[in-house]
Subunit: 489 residues, 2 copies
Amino acid sequence: MTSTTYTSAVFALETMDVPGGTETILRGGRHLFPLLPEAFAGVRRIGVIGWGPQGRAQARNLRDSLAGTDIRVSVGLRPGSASVADARTHGFTEEDGTLGDWLAVTADSDLVILLIADAALAAHHEEIFAALKPGATIGLSHGFLLGHLRATGGEFPPGHGVIAVCPKGMGDSVRRLYEQGAEINGAGINSSYAVHADPDGKATDRALGWSVALGSPYTFRTTLESEYRSDIVGERAILLGAVHGIVESLFTRYRLTGDDAVTAYERSCENVTGPIARTISQAGLRAVREELDPAGREIFDRLYSATYGPAREIVAEIYDEVADGTELRSVVLAERRLGAREMSGIGGSPMWAVGAEVRARRAERALPVDPFTAGVFVATMTAQVDEFAERGHPWSEIVNESVIEAVDSLLPYMHARDVAYMVDNCSRTARLGARRWGPRFQAAYEQIAYPASELPPNEALLTAFDTHPMHEALAAAAKLRPSVDISVA
Amino acid sequence: MTSTTYTSAVFALETMDVPGGTETILRGGRHLFPLLPEAFAGVRRIGVIGWGPQGRAQARNLRDSLAGTDIRVSVGLRPGSASVADARTHGFTEEDGTLGDWLAVTADSDLVILLIADAALAAHHEEIFAALKPGATIGLSHGFLLGHLRATGGEFPPGHGVIAVCPKGMGDSVRRLYEQGAEINGAGINSSYAVHADPDGKATDRALGWSVALGSPYTFRTTLESEYRSDIVGERAILLGAVHGIVESLFTRYRLTGDDAVTAYERSCENVTGPIARTISQAGLRAVREELDPAGREIFDRLYSATYGPAREIVAEIYDEVADGTELRSVVLAERRLGAREMSGIGGSPMWAVGAEVRARRAERALPVDPFTAGVFVATMTAQVDEFAERGHPWSEIVNESVIEAVDSLLPYMHARDVAYMVDNCSRTARLGARRWGPRFQAAYEQIAYPASELPPNEALLTAFDTHPMHEALAAAAKLRPSVDISVA
């Protein structure tokens, strides 16, 4: 079990009740921005390396939060990077020294935040390490590099602090909610933080300052190892891979049982990204079932019972392969095999053809939660929660990585486009993982869960769901941020 | 490229033309049985360890072929093995010394053929190695143990010959066709052989003798490494995993485009295991297309073109993971996670419910090759052939592991029951692999291949198929055995 207790010399911390104990957390907000110079003591320059979705969001949030201080945020890009123009558009320029070559920016920064793609990080981390100035702190936003160093026998360079602040949402959400935070103090994406190396004793406050500057409603503690596992498993399961498998299998199921394509789409993809995600975000997981009528609950119960077992089996398999390094090894092999070749897309299957039509008629109709779909989705989400709990993750990490990131960050974006689009446009590591595991969920549900859905519900499973400690953990996390729906452009 | 040339002091070898060169092969047959004592010079006792499908078949074939010689074949079983009664039924008894404890039989044998399950082999090979008598030869029928030793840093014990004879068909076929060979000399399952360690210089003739005694129509040379890769990849692809993915995706496709369940089953599963497999077995791969009418060929061409790319991509991914050890690692993790728990079955999906009805009306109707299904199946098979060729496998291995084992061994059994039954009842290593990869083929075909099947055919791909060297290699292999269809009880 990861320790979740810590102290800060700068910020006033709180204690949050979670199942079986408490976690120390930092509640964020713009009123804390005046404390940032103290949290960043010794840091005059922050270099954000990379301009992908996270780099683009974090560099801007950090700069805006640190406006008026003498801490400068610069963006470092690879020679020939196609992102130079966009970075300039957002006010990072060579002229004022806030845009430059990645190794030059690295050499000039006291905190170097590495947000380049996983494959680039795997290929170039040694050059970056070599360019660090003495005592500079290395910042990460997920644990991929740790996994890669373990797999290849590498190490973080000695004498440097290594910290991570990991927003539990995609980069676009990190920026969008931060902007909404200007009106509603505390709107944002929760983050975990980890201290992996702390040679000068200032790592925790630097990490907390970074998280506050990103706009995190609350920040909880984890380890890089725990973050790595939950992050990579989560995107292969309920955050991306499983969602794709779920909606593909449900669409086919509904078509085969007589629905036209539009109805089948509304009952599957549209239902998950719309009413189900919204209900969970606003009222929690139990509310999905409670808001159904008795006939709907009976369907929910049968599907929950039929789905939980196969879902748990696959999540456990993913977890084993991630923890073992096998999953990361497959990413390395895929990158090597594919080379510069594009991965084929998955957005061509028949269901996506009707997405536009469904989205076009949203204004005319309020879609209710579909009990069949809801049972499948909630069972899969709960299976991931249970697997993470069994493997000893902190409760904040469990509910953020299994529930909050899904319903408050990813699903709203999937609602604006569709699930396949998001799978085809996420990071390569996530995309490769979703393509490996999504079909496993799809096949298991079609071949095992749906045929079993005619059976009576499993009362023991349903009682476990009803009395599940995750509801308490979710409610505690929900109290820490204002009720705000992300507004997806 | 694996060397395929060798010499024998006992048997007269032949040279077979294959694309780009020749392979040395041994044509089998009962007329060679009198040479077996010479081939087994120095071997008085053969111990067959294990009574799974291969052990059950090989122990009986060896005993029957060696009847009248002074070479005794004994079966060794684990203490408490549930197979004792069945071994006795087939004439192996403690009383005459042909049935005993596995370590005792090992200690008493000059050639110890290890046919226990992969998981048992992984767990117990060290005990078995320790029990070997000095100079005894270790026999294997696939390369799993080599992969396992590599993954765990182990080694074969020095001073012992290590040979493999690997029938390119399941155990039941190895016995069934051997029995048919009593009437039609030369009926049987082809085998590859490998010499991994040869301290006394007699390894090749021992392996050839073993293969002849099993009834192999012809025996070709490979390496344990090459055998391991093609075996594990093949069962994950066209032999098992891909077949499952193909028929599930086609059944759904046909249902969604208006077929009733019986018709959809006949066009998918029944078509692959029946007319398509039969046509390939009797007349080769090109015949599947040539026997279609022009409208059918046009459909075949579009589906072949749409399927080949996604199929090749997945086969390449499987190959990478097998060669890297990642795939075997996942099997080890699964065995550890599942422990004694049963894997869930995949035979519950809607399509299998109509299988019995389809089989019952076989007598009334001669089902023609379905061009849509045929394009998908032949493209997948060719993709595997091409991947194996690119990775340097001998042509005999390529066509036996990709085509002949499918159409002459596995598909006839799948025709008698169904594909899901075979997946749920094969070895655990194969079963785990089919469950990992079958869904990948299913999803890729549903999401990428079938949507692309409206496009015009890819003429370059079709020309490559038409002029493919595999046709020549298959024809050469076909000449080496009598034309006999396996009779599945």
